[in-house]
Amino acid sequence: MTPHQPDFQPPASGQNTPAPQPGYPVYGQGGYGVYQPQQQYYYPAQGGYYPMYPPPQMSQKPQRSAYRLTLGIISVIALSLLLLGGFVFVAISGLDYLTGSPLGSAVALFVLLITAMLGGGGVGLYFAIRAIANKSSAAARFPPFYIFAALTVAVFAAGFAIKLTALPPSGITVSLLIVLSGVMPALTILAFTVNRLGNPTTWRRLWMSLLSGMFLATLIALILELTASVVLAIWFANGPGAFNSNILNNSSSVLFTLLIISVVAPLVEEGFKPIGPVILIGRIRTPAEAFALGLASGIGFNIFETIGYISSGQADWIQVAFERVGAGLLHGVGAGMATLGWYYIFRGKGVRLRALKGIGAILYAIMQHALFNGSNLLGLVPGPIGNALNYPIYFLGMYETTQIFLFFGIYILIAFMLLKMTGALRLKPTNKTAENAQISAESSILTRNA
């Protein structure tokens, strides 16, 4: 007999004695990201002694949350509609093919929609059904971001090679390359962020956020921006005067365009891009997760919008793709910051100056978007600024102006912001052992709670 195994007998009967339980994991359960060993040890419940010390906690099956169940059911309905929409697009595309009217590079948008609706919606439906069934989801881990960066380079190299050396292929044969020219840069940013933050969320949440940005946020933004455009157009007709947003050759046209792209678009888009993560805000556990989910939502929005732009480029699609290669930074970091702001406002109890931080993060997202969009009009400024931005340059078969350097300068600034934010928010293990423990803990907890 060892000193630690008292030799006493359990009551024979009539006692409400908990059954011996298997050993409990030693990793923290009360929140992931920090290694938290169990503070309350229990006496090993081996046969032959009475568990008179604090009994081990029962290994509990995750409780079904009504909130989660409701969200799951809504998601199943919404994603089923998305799948249905995908089939409708297949039918439309088939009809278009049969009637023989070419779509040009716009066929890429159809390819994206069909792929995202059927593939993305299908995966989303799988996640939603598993959520209803109280099944777990694994921690989201991406391949290293440089793999996507290398594939981005490959896609753009092929695009430029076709533009410079070959006849433009038909829309259908180039459509996949067009889609990838929008998707690969976006995945680079998403992979970099999620991995650098220490994989703070699950595939289910990430996927749902991506889909919400791609379909829900774009739909709301489209409706609101169109409505605002109509209202402004009516106001302009009665006030500032006639305008043509395609030809910015008078003050009314410039003012109208400025209001749309630098006021309406930032407010609407930064307001609604994080709609998916904000719905989940009560279940988001850390600022890092809030930022990652927000960024995923923004990336979803960006993929849809960017491929919409690229697919309208026709023979110049690669030029549009090149100009928008950093658009994922704009939309992703913006939505990430906005979601972080909402997280601080709703869940930031104990955080110093939480309201200020929350509102500040949301305002940052809006201002970043407004400044980027507004910079498009700087070339109209008369004098040396306009002249400097309108100097024509020709490279890789593209006719650009020096304004392209302004856009890429802003992309670099936003990338720097992303680097700083992910550095500040990421999980920080103190040493290698703790890091390993943390990864296991995250996996364990994420699979339970997702």
Binding site: P6, P143, A166, L180, S312, Q319, M398
Partner: protein
């Protein structure tokens, strides 16, 4: 009777204090969680899918490029050619309160303020061309225009080809009521939309239809039309919501008779 009274006392291992909570060692950590269900293979799967799809997309685009139908080469006799930078007297201007046509230093400029019934070409070539023939013209880009680019090439008095700055085109016919209706249309992936690059159009017209090529690649073709034996060709702009404009250069016609 209390069962506890019959139990053996704890061994006196802690300084002789009975019933003291035994000091236990923290149980060793269990082995790491089984990777099953933790999605550890997902990054690898994502990598493989991404690389495969990228290679497939590049191969498909390259293959598609090799299949692009090139426009027919120049055949026949050149019966008219002009840079359209100067007025050579071969053009007739049909100007109304809605439309105008003028030679400028940048080309033949047509502006249409708004749509009107029986819209006609504002710039008409005076010669009559016998079929079949080939027509070539360059459309200057949006950036040098003051209005939205909507170019129209009239292949006869009641058949025209209209294309916008975005590369969206329509082949239209004139009805008896004076309205232009679309026979067929689409978007040309060969069209430069950047606003800084000119686009070339080529029409190969026969008695019952024509093919159109943009920037050297056949974009569309139509049959079932009746051109008769000769055509009057013209250039112009087509107004939409806003006034439109088209600036043409390098016009040439080749008769294939």
């Amino acid at each position: 009777m209390n069962n506890y009274t019959q139990q053996q006392p704890y061994p006196q291992t802690y300084g002789g204090q009975p019933y003291m909570m035994p000091r236990i060692q923290r149980p060793p950590a269990p082995p790491a969680e089984s990777p099953a269900g933790s999605g550890k293979h997902i990054p690898l799967i994502l990598t493989i899918i991404s690389i495969t799809v990228t290679i497939a997309a590049i191969a498909l685009a390259m293959y598609g490029s090799s299949l692009a139908p090139a426009a027919p080469s120049v055949t026949g006799t050149q019966i008219y050619s002009s840079s359209l930078l100067v007025n050579d007297g071969a053009w007739n201007f049909h100007s109304t309160q809605y439309s105008q046509c003028a030679f400028t230093s940048q080309g033949l400029d047509s502006i249409m303020q708004q749509t009107a019934p029986f819209d006609m070409a504002s710039c008409n070539l005076t010669m009559t061309i016998s079929l079949p023939y080939q027509l070539r013209v360059t459309v200057q880009p949006q950036n040098i225009l003051s209005n939205s680019l909507e170019a129209a090439v009239y292949l006869s008095q009641n058949i025209r080809f209209v294309i916008s700055a975005q590369g969206t085109y329509d082949i239209e016919g004139l009805t008896n009521k004076g309205n232009w209706v679309s026979f067929q249309g689409g978007t040309s992936i060969q069209w430069h939309t950047s606003g800084a690059q000119a686009n070339s159009l080529q029409f190969d017209v026969s008695s019952n239809g024509f093919s159109v090529a943009t920037n050297g690649v056949i974009t569309d073709q139509i049959t079932g039309l009746n051109f008769g034996g000769t055509s009057n060709v013209g250039l112009g702009a087509v107004a939409g919501v806003n006034p439109s404009e088209a600036l043409f250069t390098d016009f040439a016609v080749y008769s294939q008779n």
